[in-house]
Symmetry: C2
Subunit: 470 residues, 2 copies
Amino acid sequence: MPYAIDETHDPSLKSWVESANDPKSDFPIQNLPYVNYMGKDEDPANPLADGFVGPLGVVIGDQILDVNRLLDEGLLETVEEVATNSEDSDICYWLHAVEGLANAPLAFRKELRNQLSTILKSDSSIDRDLVSKLLTPVTDCVFHEPSIGDYTDFYASLYHATNVGSMFRPDNPLLPNYKHIPIGYHGRASSIVASGTSIKRPVGQQAPSEEGGSPAFGPCKLLDYEMEMGVIVGRGNDLGEPISIVEAEDHMLGMCILNDWSARDLQKWEYVPLGPFLAKNFASTVSPYIVTMEALAPFRCPAMERDAGDPQPLPYMDSDANRKAGGFDIMVEVHLSSAKMREQGIEPVHLSTGNFKDMYWTLAQMLTHHTVNGCNLQPGDLLGSGTISGTTRDARGSMLELTWDGDPFAEPPVVVPGTQRTPIVLPTGEERKFIADGDEVIMKAYCEREGFRRIGFGECRGIIEPARTL
Amino acid sequence: MPYAIDETHDPSLKSWVESANDPKSDFPIQNLPYVNYMGKDEDPANPLADGFVGPLGVVIGDQILDVNRLLDEGLLETVEEVATNSEDSDICYWLHAVEGLANAPLAFRKELRNQLSTILKSDSSIDRDLVSKLLTPVTDCVFHEPSIGDYTDFYASLYHATNVGSMFRPDNPLLPNYKHIPIGYHGRASSIVASGTSIKRPVGQQAPSEEGGSPAFGPCKLLDYEMEMGVIVGRGNDLGEPISIVEAEDHMLGMCILNDWSARDLQKWEYVPLGPFLAKNFASTVSPYIVTMEALAPFRCPAMERDAGDPQPLPYMDSDANRKAGGFDIMVEVHLSSAKMREQGIEPVHLSTGNFKDMYWTLAQMLTHHTVNGCNLQPGDLLGSGTISGTTRDARGSMLELTWDGDPFAEPPVVVPGTQRTPIVLPTGEERKFIADGDEVIMKAYCEREGFRRIGFGECRGIIEPARTL
């Protein structure tokens, strides 16, 4: 694995940006996630803002530091040196936005992290007055999702696949390919939006109520979220040249939270034989903070162990390093607030807590499998993990699973065929089986480990607006 | 329909570029397709060539005319005028490459076509010596596929869907949603390559030979092509704002040939429940000539008529104009040459001839359906039609169909369950059930109509190279 624990993870490190030292902060000096951002008062009509994807910032506590201006001020000399020594030096591009950094060599990224840590630590010898001028409070900024070329979504949680499969095939929930292949499909890149963007309820065809009948048409009635993690691809590969499992993590820049909004009624009608389409491509929301693979080094864990009867991964998806440390111990939480709750000043309710380590396939396996046929990945591509669900009810990462009356993991399995659902009751007395207009879905993710500072991914938020008038 | 027959389609128009007047030419003055190109001797290491997507050329006979240099020479004054009168004038961007032109207003595109026709016609008053210097022979150029943001592939041929469905479900070949929804899925944009690019045979997992067994792993054994047409999206739509069927064609720039290479054995194993993935994303080939919607105006035809028992399209996919002229009369041909045939100087053999008018869904219906849920299209996106097959054996657009011993359209249907296949015998005596290493697949498309000049799409070629060594 190219990402080792080093002095930048030292839990005793503090920053002169005081907010970063709050133990509850997602963004201590040990994290240093990257964002594409601009000031709220910047003119969106200026040319820079047209298809705007920069400048690159790094988040420290409740502030964002402008990485481009650090370069202008001559504060990234050691980083420039690494760039100069690189065969395809292109420092201006690498520092222009998240997707530029994705194309930078590992040594460059590592030195950038080191240097940012050196600049921001409490005992830094840097000119703090100067650097302070390059800071903007997070609350004064707007974020932009990275410019994503291709988006692929996987289906890597055995528990999610089993839950969903149980609803439709109680006797045989998992398809025969599941334990051999990290199942994935291509998603829509254009409709990926940054946290905070409102989403209109999609409209579309829904399955006829009886066989042979005509489909209904109208606003989606079964709108759902899916709690996922996403990885932003780093350097890509040439067409026809796969990435081996040993090299897979060299090709990852970092991770973010991903809400794969899903219109279940559209999905049920359209998905055979070619997979989900309009049920997903109306919007997917990403958190803007790209937490680097370097920052995540202390939170690695073994890949999920196979059960005795399970097939071993084929050799191209197997390695010692992947078995021992291919996983990530990341807690993932979903919260919901209705419009009424917000009006009444009621805090969002907690819906679920899962963990990314409970995935059947590791990110390295997904990335390797994606390229084994020769498919080329490109810097800034997004790979979604698929819904993260665990074995217990409160670890289910979608409403489809949360409100469903079944437990395929109980002994004996308790599976209720059909669509019987127990709604979630909100503090206002409102009930939810799926997502209603005005609901805000709030996803959080964070890593905690004894002996290390907690690091977080911030939040991934989206409010559902009513469907357009038909 | 925004594209009417006008004086640029006049069959008596000739060009002073003599090769365009050859009745066999794909590129008479009535066509004028756009390409992204550069000279073969241009240095691919220069900065312009890095992620190169221009300059924009227009093809006339066997020559390419540099559109950017026409602008520099002041020969596009009337076009500049239309740009100036446009709210979001950006002529340099609109003329920089095919994907720039995709973003130009219809009035700009129309005037550009008019002006190019005026410059190139026999009795043009233009300085021919000057314009001649801006011509490069096609044979001295290399082409680049447009920069495609998102790629969506449809499945719009009822005959293809019925053929493929019959192989797996002889009693019930068509799924219940087929006649209600233009079924589509997201493809991979990064692996779209221009005609002439060699394709390595993909490697991957294949279905176990017996139920519950382990999958095989290795080079694809059932490699296939799919003969499709693609449409390059013009101006896009905002997220949440669908494009109506009436406006759908305003959002199309033009069409090209698309070979949706398919690894059938990978597909069979991986495609449930989320659709094709590695079976398709190793490569898709496009012809570089973007034949404009304007050029295609004389070749419009009614949308395919529904049978008596068929459902009518839902209102959002129905319009008078679409019913009357939503189709395109485009002949599509597939040819094949093996390495041995080329060694022996034998011409490619003809495999099939279909017609794009035989599609169950029109392009306008596909584009409208794609956005009905709010999904945003962007300039330069590619929509594939799906394999174009007809009712007869020699109109089948893939090897999977061509070599299959079944005829679901015969009376009574003659459907042979299972995988019995009759190979195609090549002039060398070689046999093909699918595509072998060294085979070149050559697709052609063209429009012919009494009273109009024939226009063509050029060729879409690809040679299959052996799989990488495992």
